[in-house]
Amino acid sequence: MSGEGLTVRDLRVSFDGFTAVDGVDLDIGPGDLRFLIGPNGAGKTTLVDAVTGLVRASGSVRFAGQELLGRPVHRIARLGIGRTFQTATVFEELTVLQNLDIAAGAGRGPLTMLRRRGSVPEPVSRALETTGLTGLRDRPAGILAHGQKQWLEIGMLLVQDVRLLLLDEPVAGMSHEEREATGELLRRVAEDRTVVVIEHDMDFMRSYARSVSVLHAGKVLSEGTVAEVQADAKVQEVYLGRAAEPAAVPVPEEA
């Protein structure tokens, strides 16, 4: 078995009789930069919700030899799994530095917690540099631009020292330059971590994905490299077959 890969077996999530994820199997190896794509309602976000403990699911999700299903959210996070959300959620009233410091601190003892932060912890200053936010460290996170908030969130995952990052549409709403910067950031992050990205932006996916899984109606439709997936007739049918969608760029969901 892969040391720190993610193994999903027969994952099912239902809400009031509606099955959002319907028997998904996934093997994401260590160091992979996997993109999850698929039309609206394919179950991508729900899949991530299930892996991170936000929704109840049946089946099996294993990471680094541990079963994740049934554990509370904060325990799963402590196993080294972090995620972002479609809308960036940072602590708006706290500064960039405070946001990162909190992300770095889940293992702190009571004495450290009751003291004021003396100096900037090493991982925090490294994350500030990696995300290019050093100059903004004392500004409240609430005033950051949309793209910067997404980077701050990725920075928070870095100092949290997660080994698996699950990112939900990290480049939605970003300018072209911001997309490229984010892609490069993801590449660097994936050097020693496993990254899973939910994305609608096909150009972005083509440029940065190492492997791709296509979800459709709660099931895995196709899996492989970008070229393999694009050549798959079933994928073409799902994306091109829809009457209202002439191009291969699907609309972002839940704008």
């Binding site: 904060h74 996070a77 995620r83 959620t89 602590f91 706290l94 009751l114 004021r116």
Partner: protein
């Protein structure tokens, strides 16, 4: 880097508060006014805890009367027993009046020990808060539900106390307290001493709360208030974070209740029920719940307004109190402490504009 003025701002303000409370007030105020101020400062101590739990932690603590009452009754039980011992009686005066036996109830007995009673004024409220908080936060009860639950607890405690007239004094409460650890409370000098104790405790607890505010825990508490779910994904259990603030606030309310007893000479169900519990947070809401100084000054000002206005317009005060609360929470969530910032933001339109851009970028996502 911080300038010297910035570095001296907090110790300077603290020193100013200490000079005002311990130096000027005792000289400038008559005995009567000073004993009123002592009472207001007890409410201010509750407000320090409210500022932590509600202002920083977002916990709508509308039942601080429970903890204030537990602390107050623990102290009053000891003082009543001491008074009884002074006059050679075995049980306090009200028990002789309403009681069915002349034996002391078992749960009164340990309170004859001053050290035990003093410890209980803080530990008992904290233990109750820990139990309630553990059950409530783990079940993710929050917002209005938490507020209603707090109110229900305050109502339950005061109703229970009223029902147990033989052992708690019922509606009257524990009254007519004569002495405070051997000092007669009739003597104005000893009343002043009680004032000094209360003022010193307030300053001490403000320093403690300030340390909590600026600590890493304080930052985490704000994070939990603003986005509990996000904190969970960082590997923290928000229930524990909230529990600490709730328990500390309860301990402060308990101590305030304990000090209220020698200052005013009475503790009764009417002082700890639903209405006083709301009263405890109004001062903090008006002054600024997230600001320690704002909450304390607000509590003192509202308590002063209450005694002044309720004497002249007893019927109108309740409405005014409610109006103050609604106005503060609805239109000035930061309280008077935030007035400067709010006005400044109104005058310079640059900040709202910037916010708008951010929001629009978010909407495009």
């Amino acid at each position: 880097m911080k300038t010297i003025t910035e570095r001296l701002r907090v110790p300077g303000a603290f020193l100013l508060g200490a000079v005002l409370l311990l130096g000027i007030a005792p000289v400038a105020l008559s005995d009567f006014r000073l004993s009123l101020l002592a009472k207001y400062l007890c409410y201010a101590i509750v407000a320090v805890g409210v500022s932590l739990a509600w202002g920083r932690g977002g916990l709508m603590v509308l039942g601080q009367g429970v903890f204030f009452g537990l602390g107050g009754y623990a102290m009053a039980m000891h003082l009543k027993l001491a008074d009884a011992a002074d006059t050679g009686e075995k049980i306090p005066d009200f028990m002789q009046l309403y009681g069915t036996s002349d034996a002391l109830p078992w749960w009164w007995k340990p309170f004859a020990n001053p050290a035990f009673a003093l410890a209980m004024t803080v530990l008992l409220p904290m233990a109750v808060a820990a139990l309630v908080g553990f059950l409530v936060f783990r079940r993710r009860v929050k917002g209005a539900y938490f507020a209603i639950l707090s109110q229900a607890l305050a109502a339950a405690l005061s109703i229970w106390l009223i029902g147990q007239q033989a052992t708690t004094g019922g509606t009257n409460g524990l009254t007519d307290i004569q002495g405070f650890f051997g000092y007669s409370l009739d003597d104005p000098v000893n009343q002043r001493m009680v004032y000094f104790v209360i003022a010193a405790v307030l300053l001490l607890l403000m320093a403690l709360a300030r340390q909590l505010f600026v600590s890493r825990y304080g930052e985490l508490l704000v994070a939990v208030r603003d986005s509990e779910e996000r904190v969970r994904f960082l590997g923290y259990d928000p229930a524990n974070v909230k529990l600490v603030a709730y328990v500390v606030a309860a301990g402060m309310a308990g101590l305030a209740g304990a000090l209220f007893v020698p200052a005013v000479g009475i503790i009764s169900p009417a002082l700890i029920g639903i209405v006083p519990s709301i009263g405890f947070v109004i001062g903090a809401a008006v002054g600024g719940r997230a600001s320690l100084v704002g909450a304390v000054l607000g509590a003192i000002a509202v308590a002063w307004a209450q005694s002044t206005l309720s004497d002249e317009f007893p019927a109108a005060w309740t409405y005014l109190q409610g109006l103050l609360f609604v106005l503060a929470v609805g239109f000035l969530p930061g309280g008077l402490a935030s007035l400067g910032t709010v006005l400044r933001r109104r005058r310079t339109p640059a900040t709202p504009k910037e916010e708008k851009v951010v929001v629009m970028a978010g909407e495009a996502a």
